[in-house]
């Protein structure tokens, strides 16, 4: 099967899955008591039944559930996710404005966690009882057991307030003037702490898994063969062993992608990172249904794309996955 055909089938499955997500999300939101009319009336200090009905009629909330659902899905097909009553903006625009910030945070954190996790895992697998191995184990345990908001606040206190290496909050410094690179460096400086915070949890998972996978692979027959061929220790470990040990780590990374996104909500809150997480939090409080639905839709989309990429990466690493021949 060639890559193109795989892609086409996967995109088809993704579309089916996304539709299911849409229907489910919409139904769940519909089932939950209260709607935007309640919120508006609350913010006005109360309203009578007539006004409530008026608001509901304005927003089409008085119609039958199926009609609402059908209209919503029809709109989504034209990339129209509805209008946010709370922000007074189209939801699509609202989300697209904030999506890059979240993607930047999530992808960089995932990459850092993966690379650092695998490297430390490999080092500790080579000497499972060495000092380095114990240190990595400790670090992983710490990262996994500490809640992200706590880690985030600790990092803030240490590296923004005590030693003022990094800015406290936000994504860019509006007072900074300059070209693209000046701004890129500014964003990078803002990114460091939230990225480390988010990566700390997942680094723990990846390093433990890489260590276990690597220890198993290092004891395998084909590693012995590689040694018997007179290859350098480096080639044996980083070529023959590592490529085999990567598969489980990549699989886990793909599965964790959704967890990274939900982890980002908390991290964004701690660091006032202007991403989807902050938006999600605010719109849930405001009962801004279209925005919540839009965010759920986009996170489903990101997770599906992430899984597709994981699949392709697995195929690159392990020829057995594709069922070649």
């Amino acid at each position: 099967m060639n890559i193109l055909r795989i892609l086409v089938t996967r995109v088809f499955y993704a579309a089916v899955l996304l539709t299911a997500v849409l229907v489910l999300n919409f139904s769940l939101m519909h089932l939950a008591p209260g709607d935007v009319a309640d919120t508006i009336s609350q913010s006005m200090g109360g309203a009578d039944q007539e006004l409530l009905d008026q608001i509901r009629a304005d927003y089409g909330l008085d119609q039958h559930f199926v009609v609402q659902l059908g209209r919503y899905i029809g709109n989504v097909l034209t990339f129209d996710l509805g209008f946010s009553f709370f922000y007074n903006q189209p939801v699509t625009q609202l989300i697209l404005e904030r999506l890059p910030a979240t993607l930047l945070l999530v992808i960089s954190a995932q990459l850092v966690a993966l690379i650092v996790g695998v490297v430390l895992g490999v080092i500790s697998a080579q000497k499972p009882n060495g000092i380095a191995s114990h240190f990595v184990t400790f670090l992983a345990l710490f990262g996994y057991s500490a809640p992200v908001f706590w880690t985030g606040i600790l990092l803030l206190i240490a590296f923004s307030l005590q030693i003022q290496w990094f800015p406290v909050a936000g994504m860019r410094d509006v007072t900074i003037e300059g070209g693209f690179w000046v701004k890129a460096v500014d964003v990078a400086q803002h990114l460091v702490l939230p990225m480390i915070t988010l990566a700390s949890v997942f680094f723990a998972l990846y390093s433990r898994l890489a260590r276990a996978a690597m220890m198993e692979v290092l004891g395998s027959d084909y590693v012995r063969t590689a040694k018997a061929k007179g290859l350098r220790e480096r080639t044996v470990v980083y070529k023959h062993a590592l490529k085999n040990a990567l598969s489980p780590v990549i699989t886990l990374a793909g599965l964790q992608f959704s967890a990274v996104i939900s982890g980002a909500v908390l991290v964004e809150a701690v660091f006032s990172w202007p991403g989807l997480g902050t938006l999600a939090f605010q719109s849930i409080i405001a009962r801004d249904t279209p925005t919540i639905l839009g965010i759920l839709f986009f996170s489903a989309l990101v997770v599906i794309v992430g899984n597709l990429l994981t699949d392709l990466a697995l195929r690159l690493v392990d020829p057995r996955v594709g069922g070649k021949k």
Partner: protein, 327 residues
């Protein structure tokens, strides 16, 4: 001078119960172009000897405690890691028992062969790849050109073992160590692999050390054999001479274990015998007595008091038994 000389080799393994000599006072030599066979039950030290020659004893667990392994006059037990790496896969190479797991699943067969050529002979990528095709052809994999880019999972067990042999012979080694190369294969494939090894030996003049517990394979392949028992040499000598007249009771037991196919099924079948008892545990390996004594029908007090010496016989036969002359 012989190509390989092993002298009074002692290998110690650190186990939970302490240090055990898994190879105890082993001496033998291997001439150029000769095939030497190691025979014995599992755990008698056959594979350990092979790993010691390759310098691949398990880290921190196994070590050469005494003796020498001289390859072309150079003592490998004293060689640096870099020097051993130069020799491994180049002058001395090895094929293993499990062809299903001995090849790396995520690299192509071609790459796994070409890699050795690049490492030891400094061949370019292209030249090494072309050579890999030739080697696959030499080990009789049909359509070598089309199969060179295959992954191990696309090959059968016999083909994988052929690929292993191609890797091992890539640099035209002086010694090929085959550790039970056919144990995991079908009987018909076994015969093909033995044929292949015999032909390749004739073409390249490579010496072969063959580790096996298959007496039939020994008779077919080897000129000389070493029977090992509990880490010690029981008997060494020319294959025909030993099969004809073994002087160690353990060798005699092994030989009488081999079933014979008979032409007439109605004919009286000689009783198939076994060697009674089990191999002593690692803990008992170092004792100053005959380790086979508990399973031996020729047991005398002497066997329990002192370890039997190497007794030499005409034709280069050596047996470690107090009663060797009488047997």
């Amino acid at each position: 001078m012989a190509l390989l000389e092993v002298e009074n080799l002692r290998i110690e393994l650190t186990t939970r119960d302490g240090v055990a000599p898994v190879i105890d006072d082993l001496s033998f030599s291997l001439e150029a172009g000769e095939t030497l066979s190691f025979v014995g039950e599992s755990g008698c030290g056959k594979s350990m000897t092979a790993l010691a020659i390759m310098g691949l004893l398990p880290d921190k667990i196994g070590r050469v405690a005494r003796g020498a392994i001289r390859f072309d006059g150079e003592d490998l037990t004293k060689a640096s890691n870099a020097r051993l790496r130069d020799i491994r896969g180049n002058d001395i190479s090895m094929i293993f028992q499990e062809p299903m797991t001995s090849l790396n699943p995520v690299f192509t067969i071609g790459e796994q062969i070409a890699e050795v050529l690049r490492e030891h002979q400094g061949l370019s990528r292209k030249a090494a790849w072309d050579q890999a095709i030739e080697l696959l052809d030499a080990v009789r994999i049909p359509n070598a050109k089309g199969r060179v880019g295959d992954y191990p999972f696309q090959m059968s067990g016999g083909q994988r073992q052929r690929a292993m042999i191609a890797i091992a012979l890539a640099c035209r080694p002086k010694i090929l160590i085959a550790d039970e190369p056919t144990t995991a294969l079908d009987v018909t494939v076994q015969a093909q692999i033995f044929d292949l090894l015999r032909d390749l030996r004739r073409q390249t003049g490579t010496s072969i050390i063959m580790i096996t517990h298959d007496m039939g394979a020994v008779a077919e392949m080897a000129e000389r054999m070493i029977v090992m028992y509990a880490g010690r040499q029981a008997e060494i000598g020319p294959v025909e001479q030993i099969i004809d007249h073994a002087r160690h009771p353990y060798t005699q037991g092994l030989i009488s274990c081999v079933p014979h196919i008979q032409k007439e099924l109605t004919e009286d079948r000689p009783e198939l015998v076994e060697v009674p008892g089990i191999v002593p545990s690692l803990r008992d390996f170092g004792q100053d007595r005959c380790l086979f004594a508990s399973r031996c029908k020729h047991l005398t007090q002497q066997c329990l008091d002192k370890r039997p010496p190497h007794r030499e016989f005409p034709g280069g036969q050596i047996a470690d038994c107090w009663h060797a002359e009488a047997l």
